[in-house]
Each structure stands twice: as structure tokens, then as C-alpha cells.
Amino acid sequence: MQSQHTSPQQAGPAGPAGPDGKGRREAELEAEGRRRAPWKPLQARVAACRPLEGGWVELVLHAPHVAQHARPGQFVAIGLRPSWPVGWDPFLRRPFSLFDWDPAAGQVAVVYRPGGRGTAAFQLLSEGSPVEVLGPLGRSFPEPVRPGFAAGSRLLLAGEGHGVLVLAAAARWASRAGRRVRLLAGGPTRSAVAALERLAQPGVELELLTADGSAGRPGQVARAVEEALSGDAPAEVWASGPEPMLVAVKEACRRAGVVAYLNVERPMACGFGLCMGCSVPRASGFGYWHACVDGPVFRAEEVVLDGEPSRGSRGGCGGGR
């Protein structure tokens, strides 16, 4: 399947009008290309279920609406109800970063590794199984070529674990748009790197790192980002992975004065702006962003990540125990 970039879309949801100029921010994000899509609830079918190395599974779905509107960084929420006889458990859908999609075939691919109560149920799926899909959800990475980021300028992508999945799509996209793309992919060990055998692609310089050296060179992705920034630095960094890695990449980029975009994941109940569960503290201004509609792709300086020192006082009301 070949990812393809689609043209700018009409507005989907009516969009938030926040207490703090969210409408203005919306316009800025649109201009930058960090876009949302007109998401829909869809009945989809499993087109293929392919085991990958390390216990990962690629799930290919026939979901034309998502395939036609997807942009790298966006995700889908997949549920098994009511088409699957599992009663009310698991109750919530599961969010998955879009790994690949083909508008012509109407197919999208996500990759997961069975583990939790949700993905355990996903193991029951096989070709032809019905699933429920909401998507595409969330905000994409910015347009690869845009003011300040010309074709030919270098883009460093840094991912760990399942965080590499969203970057694989971003790498293809940016490379095709003319950016010079390098993808650092890693994790603690070989099996922790999602879709390892599917990360190499034309036009993308791929480098693997694992903490134990079981794949690629021994090392950590965040450290490799620091090294890359200390020499002839890329124009920008897009990162996706565990929070401590994002914190380290953010700090390295801040010190080097390099623009960074982060794919920030949070537990979410809905994925489309109803529940307010996926809160990410704002770096300035009042309260929280929500990863599902304001992200999951944020500029590093917009957010306070877990493990970062929070900025002093935050409006003091409504706090629980």
C-alpha cells in the first residue's frame, strides 16, 4: 500500500471556539497544515491481518473515507461493537495511529501488538471481520513544505516503540514533498520497534537504534537526536514515542533552537472531543489542550509533558483531591 497525500479538506466538525482564542489558533493551524479531517463513523471490514516481527500485527481495513482524507499524524478509533459478539467489553474503542493508507484501494493500515484488554479482543479479527471505525481523527503533522521549510531542507524524524508507526507515514509524505528525510527508529530491544521490517522506504534515510543493540546500533533515539542537532542541524524534528523520550527530544531541540513537533499520546475515551479525557497541560495560557482535537501533534513549546517541570500556578479552581 502506498500512502498518498490528499488535498486540503473542507471543515469537518464545527471546531472549538474556546475561551482563549481557539478560533484564531484554528486558522493558524490550518495555515501551517496541522489539519483535521471531516471524521465519520464507518462500518469497515478487515481486508488483511498480517503478523509482523516481534509479535506486532498489521491490520488492513477497507475504510475508503479514512483512506481518502488521512494525513500523517492522524488516527482512527476502532471498535468491535456491535458487529462483534463481545457484549460491552471492551467498552471503549481503541485509538491507533494511521500507519499507511491507499485512497485508490480505499484501505488503511494500523499496527498493534496484543497486550491490553482491548487489543486482546482484536486478536479475534480475521479477513472479512466487521469493525467500527471513526476517522480520520486528530490533527496531522504540518505540511512538509511550507513557509520557512523549503523543499530540499532536512527533516529529522525520531521515534521509539509504536511511536515509529506515525513517523513511517510522515516520512513517505515528507520525502515525496521534496524534504530530505532521516528517520531514527528504536526502542529498548528489537521486538519493541513496531513494524521494524516495514520502516525502510525509498527516499528515506533510516537508522535503527536499540538500547541492547539487538537491532541497528546500540543507543537511544533521544541521544541520537542530540548528536544530530550538535552537528549540521536539520531544519526541524518530528518525534513520537514514550513520554521520557519526547521530553529529552524537546529539551535537545530547545537548546539547539530547532523547531520540534511531538506526537503526544494520552488515554482517551472518545477520540473526538466529547470526553475531555486526553488532557495535555498548556505551556502558556489557561488549562489544557486535548490530544484528540488540538493534537496529537503539537509544537513542543505548546505543551507541558509528563516529567517536565510544570509552570508554577495554574488556575486554581476545579481541582480534585
Binding site: P13, C270, G273, G315, G319
Partner: protein, 345 residues
């Protein structure tokens, strides 16, 4: 078929079919709504994110996010966790405040043709009153007081677990607004009927129940509670039997209408609540996994009525009670009320 000479007869048949369309209108005291299927506060925000797939003018009513006098940021840390057949949340009533509501969300909801029930939160009686005094018929068709949020101390259970405070707050708000007034009760009490009676005595037009049940989950890999606030509110199908029992109790104890909520995800769930005595129902966390659930529930209720040739949805309200009442009156119904009223008497 349409061009056949017999077309006029088909038209008559269509008219007859239309005549058999059941009346879904329900009146709850001074509030009349187009149907009994509402969306619940805190599970819909203000509807903007979903209105392109779920037309708000098809809903019985939209209960807004709990709205305070000023913006509230909500709780830090992990806010949601899935549990068996349900979920825990500790959002902490994150909301943009009533002034923002008046400027942006209220007019927008009105433009969508929604029937608007503004859910109100505060940290004191004065704060609730401050919000309610700002609400006019232009941006609110009714008010629902949230005195039962399990995730904030003030404005939450502090009011909702004291009968006296519940009465005092409801009375103060009643004096501050002419809008239809509902009060949303907590299940985290010993005798929910006492709270429903307090609300009725204080002049509320209706009572909504239940809010989420207090619960928690522990991440055994990290050996610590999952939620940032340790405890949170349990919702979803897991709580439906508890909610249904409480609605049954309250509907038998007060004269004001009851709005039932708690784990409703299908038409059958909604029918159970109506038959228990609820005049309307609210769909909450089911929206998260199925944003079209309200329309499916509505169509299911409509189909049920047509199948049984019932003319009005109001015929269902409390329908399951009559069987029990008849048996009780016949004197053979001791087994039907274990422990008496509220199961605790």
C-alpha cells in the same frame, strides 16, 4: 409503482402510515421536548465536535457540559480508564465558564435547533446562583444542577451527599430562575429517595439520576492507582442495573418527572428506564464508543411503539410498575419489595 394509476391509493396508505407514527413528545413539568432521548452533561461537551454526524435538532435535548461562573481547568493527571463494561473518569468539570457559554456555545446550540438544558456547577450556593442568573431563554430551555460530580469536592458531592444542602441549594436556584429546573442526583448516598424528595420540596421541576458511581482502578504493573485523583466516576453499562433500581425507587416516591441515566446504550436500555418511571433518558458514556447511539436508541423506541401499535411514548412511562402495583394490591407481593422502599427500609 409511483406512476401507476393506483398511486393516489399509495398516497392514502402513506398518510395512514404517517398517522400511525407514534407521538414521541414528552412533557416534563413546564418543559416539553420533541422526544425522550437526551444526551448527558459531561459526555457531549457543547456538541460542536459531533454535530456534523449527529444533528442536534433530532435529540430530545442536549445537556451541556457542567458550566461554572468562570472557566475551570479540570483535573491534572490521567483522567480516564476503561473498566469491565464501563469506564472511570476524573475530568474534574473542565469547562469554559458561563460567559463563554453566553457568547459562543449557547447561540451556536440555538442555531443548531437544539433543545438546551444547561448543566450548572459551582463551588457554593452563590456560584450556582450566579450562573443561573446569567441564563436566559435565548440560550437555555432548562437548567440542570450538577450536585453530584464525584470528582470535585466543592460543587460536587459536598452538596450531593447532604439532604439539607441539596434542599438549600435547590431552593436558592429555584428563586433565581424561572427556567424549568432539574437537579442531577448522586448514587453515592444511602437513600437516594431522600434527596429526590428534598429536591421536589425545594421546588425543582424534575430530577435526573444517576451521576457516576465512585470507583477506582489500580495499575498492577506500576503498583499505583490508574487515575490521577485515585478515585473517579464509574459509568457505562456496568452501572445500569444500579441506575435502573434508583430510578424505580425515585419514580415511586416523588410527583415531579424523573430523567433516567446510567449505562444506557441501546433502545432496550432506554425502554427499561421509561418503564421504570423515567419520562426521559440521557445517554452518556455510550456516546464515546458510538456517537450515533442517541439516534439508534430513538429509532429503537419508535420501532417498539409501532410494533405494539402504541400511539404515544408516554404510555411507556412507568409501565412496568403497574404489574408490580397490581400484585402488591392483591396482597401477594411481599416478595416484590425486598427490604421495602429503597431496599434499605
Amino acid at each position: 409503482m409511483a406512476n401507476h394509476p393506483g398511486a393516489p391509493a399509495a398516497g392514502v396508505a402513506a398518510a395512514a402510515e404517517a398517522a400511525r407514527e407514534p407521538d414521541l413528545t414528552v412533557s416534563l413539568g413546564p418543559l416539553t421536548v420533541r422526544n425522550p432521548v437526551w444526551v448527558a452533561a459531561g459526555c457531549f461537551h457543547y456538541g460542536r465536535e459531533v454535530a456534523h454526524v449527529l444533528p442536534l435538532d433530532r435529540l430530545g435535548a442536549v445537556c451541556t457540559k457542567g458550566t461554572a461562573p468562570e472557566p475551570w481547568p479540570g483535573n491534572p493527571g490521567v483522567r480516564v480508564a476503561e473498566t469491565a463494561c464501563g469506564m472511570l473518569n476524573t475530568i474534574g468539570l473542565e469547562n469554559p465558564g458561563v460567559e463563554h457559554y453566553l457568547r459562543e456555545e449557547g447561540p451556536w446550540l440555538r442555531s443548531q435547533g437544539a433543545t438546551i438544558v444547561v448543566n450548572v456547577v459551582g463551588r457554593s450556593v452563590e456560584e450556582y446562583v450566579r450562573v443561573v442568573e446569567r441564563l436566559t431563554p435565548e440560550v437555555a430551555d432548562a437548567v440542570e444542577l450538577n450536585i453530584s460530580c464525584p470528582n470535585v469536592k466543592e460543587g460536587g458531592l459536598a452538596f450531593g451527599t447532604s439532604v439539607e444542602q441539596t434542599f438549600r441549594l435547590t431552593r436558592a436556584v429555584r428563586r433565581a430562575t424561572a427556567l424549568p429546573l432539574f437537579v442531577k442526583l448522586s448514587p453515592n448516598v444511602t437513600r437516594v429517595v431522600d434527596f429526590a424528595r428534598a429536591v421536589e420540596d425545594a421546588g425543582a421541576d424534575g430530577v435526573t439520576l444517576i451521576n457516576a458511581l465512585l470507583g477506582m482502578a489500580i495499575d498492577v504493573r506500576r503498583c499505583r492507582p490508574v487515575l490521577g485523583t485515585v478515585f473517579g466516576g464509574l459509568s457505562g453499562p456496568a452501572i445500569k442495573p444500579v441506575a435502573l433500581r434508583m430510578v424505580w425507587e425515585v419514580a415511586g416516591a416523588v410527583r415531579i418527572p424523573v430523567v433516567g441515566i446510567g449505562g444506557i446504550a441501546t433502545a432496550e436500555d432506554a425502554l427499561e428506564f421509561l418503564m421504570a418511571g423515567a419520562s426521559a433518558v440521557q445517554i452518556g458514556s455510550a456516546l464515546f464508543s458510538n456517537p450515533l447511539a442517541p439516534l439508534e436508541v430513538l429509532e429503537g423506541i419508535r420501532a417498539y411503539l409501532k410494533e405494539r401499535r402504541m400511539a404515544r411514548v408516554t404510555e411507556l412511562v412507568g409501565a412496568a410498575r403497574s404489574a408490580v402495583d397490581a400484585e402488591l394490591q392483591a396482597g401477594g407481593g411481599a416478595r416484590l419489595r425486598p427490604g421495602g422502599e429503597a431496599g434499605q427500609g
